[in-house]
Symmetry: C2
Subunit: 294 residues, 2 copies
């Protein structure tokens, strides 16, 4: 509750990693006439933030981030964009300077989303509520209905339904938020490899044909299968500040390379990065993108 | 029911693909003093069947298979072993000679296990009941308890439990029968790629570290993670004649390369191919293999 008692009167502060997402969020916030400031991570953030107030910060300098937030009297914080290497080891080293080793060990050993949870707890313990894209820039999330000019067939719609049933069942076990279904068959399920690698896997399966072990496993039909749909949704109880399902132009390109017919995303829960480019790419590739009701 | 009314008085006939499994099945059946005969698929079967009666058949010659079964007055049939290319196209061509195009289309379009279901229906319609390994050679299936000299730790046991919960949830959607869990996190889920490729994926994830997209997806800990368990089980209502979960020496080698601590298989539902070699490989690699109650 310390967060609730210490909210500032200043801007929403966006800690910005790479990519255009931080700028897209800032633009939507600014359109609402709300005060916004960017904390571009030095050497990582690469979008054009010239329209906004900026306070560059070091990724390995949590105290610098706190100082910038205090100086801005930020009312809330959002972390957006991507961060590649130096990655976890160095981040932990910087983080270690301001948290005790026991907490660090918990965060690292817990794996997966716990590092971000640790950073969120660190910011909120210091009086800065952390929000998610969904709270701050809802228009960046998928809405219900078609996003381009192509639409799913009746068969596609059945595959989407079976994919969503499967995701709902898996969500209870905190498994990934994506899978690929073709002709009633689930070809791939996303876990730690991420959505892009899961789509590439289907491309490879189709190239190879996967005829082997016919008698023992009876999986001959993949080579013949075409079409299919990438289905993405949120897990039950997902913390969107920590893990945000997203698609973008690259998702469309990979889906086309995998021979998929389209992409179905849960309305309100999946971010569409670079929406115009994403829709243009899907239209050009003959793929549908549809937002489906939760 | 035509199958039930037309059972022969002769041997159990094993239609044999590649690998040692058909010979292992024949040996277990013969040990029970039951009559057994092998139908080695020409150019595919490669085990030593010299101890058994043999009627070589062509993979693309369903009528030849029926003739051999009738000639033997086979009381039942089992299909075992692996078949690689020429694969589905040619099989269907041969099958097409004796079934109508409409059935063929159903079989192929249904994908996955439907080809085997079609072959099973074809054999049973012609009076030859088709059995599964589990019915015919139950001792080849995993039993409860440890298969080698290594045992899971308390943490491993927790990962096994969470993996089995996830498989149970996924089974309702007819998703694959395997996954890999490490430190409470599901790293990979098997679908069309098969168990071996799923294990290789985890090897790759660990080599690469998978630090990317830290802020967006917060998945930094894989690089640090070691251990973990491959969990395999049957789907609810699985037809073991069509799809038989199996592990063998290669599974152990791949699990070791992926840095896993062991393998957990559902007792009575997972086949252990080349059991002695499999156990020896696990003992040498320091991996546990445990059969867990369904």
């Amino acid at each position: 509750m310390s967060a609730a008692t210490a909210v500032g009167a200043g801007p929403l502060a966006i800690i910005a990693g790479a990519g255009r997402l931080p700028a897209e969020i800032a633009a939507e916030v600014a359109e609402r006439q709300e005060d916004v400031a960017i904390l571009p991570i030095k050497g990582v953030a690469n979008a054009d933030f010239s329209a906004f107030r900026q306070r560059p910060v070091g990724m390995l300098d949590p105290n610098g981030v706190l100082a910038a937030l205090a100086d801005l009297d930020a009312r809330a914080v959002i972390m957006a964009g991507t961060v590649h290497r130096p990655g976890i080891g160095l981040v932990m080293a910087g983080y270690e300077a301001v948290r005790n080793r026991e907490e660090i060990r918990k965060v690292v050993q817990g794996g997966d989303d716990n590092l971000l949870r640790g950073i969120i707890a660190f910011l909120e313990d210091n009086g800065f509520p952390v929000l998610g894209v969904r709270d701050v820039a809802p228009r960046l999330m998928a809405q219900e209905g078609l996003l381009g000019r192509h639409a799913p067939t009746e068969a596609d719609t059945q595959d989407i339904a079976s994919g969503r049933r499967a995701l709902a069942a898996m969500g209870l076990s905190d498994i990934g938020q994506g899978l690929i279904v073709a002709q009633h068959r689930i070809l791939a399920v996303e876990a730690a490899e991420g959505t892009d690698n899961m789509i590439r896997r289907v491309t490879g399966l189709r190239r190879k044909g996967l005829i082997g072990r016919l008698l023992r496993h009876g999986r001959p039909a993949i080579a013949e299968q075409t079409g299919g749909v990438l289905v993405k949704a949120a897990k039950p109880g997902q913390d969107f500040r920590v893990d945000l399902p997203a698609i973008g132009p690259r998702t469309v390109r990979l889906a086309r390379e995998a021979g998929l017919g389209g992409i179905a995303i849960e309305a309100g829960s999946v971010l569409v990065v670079e929406r115009e480019m994403t829709i243009r790419a899907a239209d050009a590739a003959g793929l549908y993108i549809i937002g489906v009701a939760p």
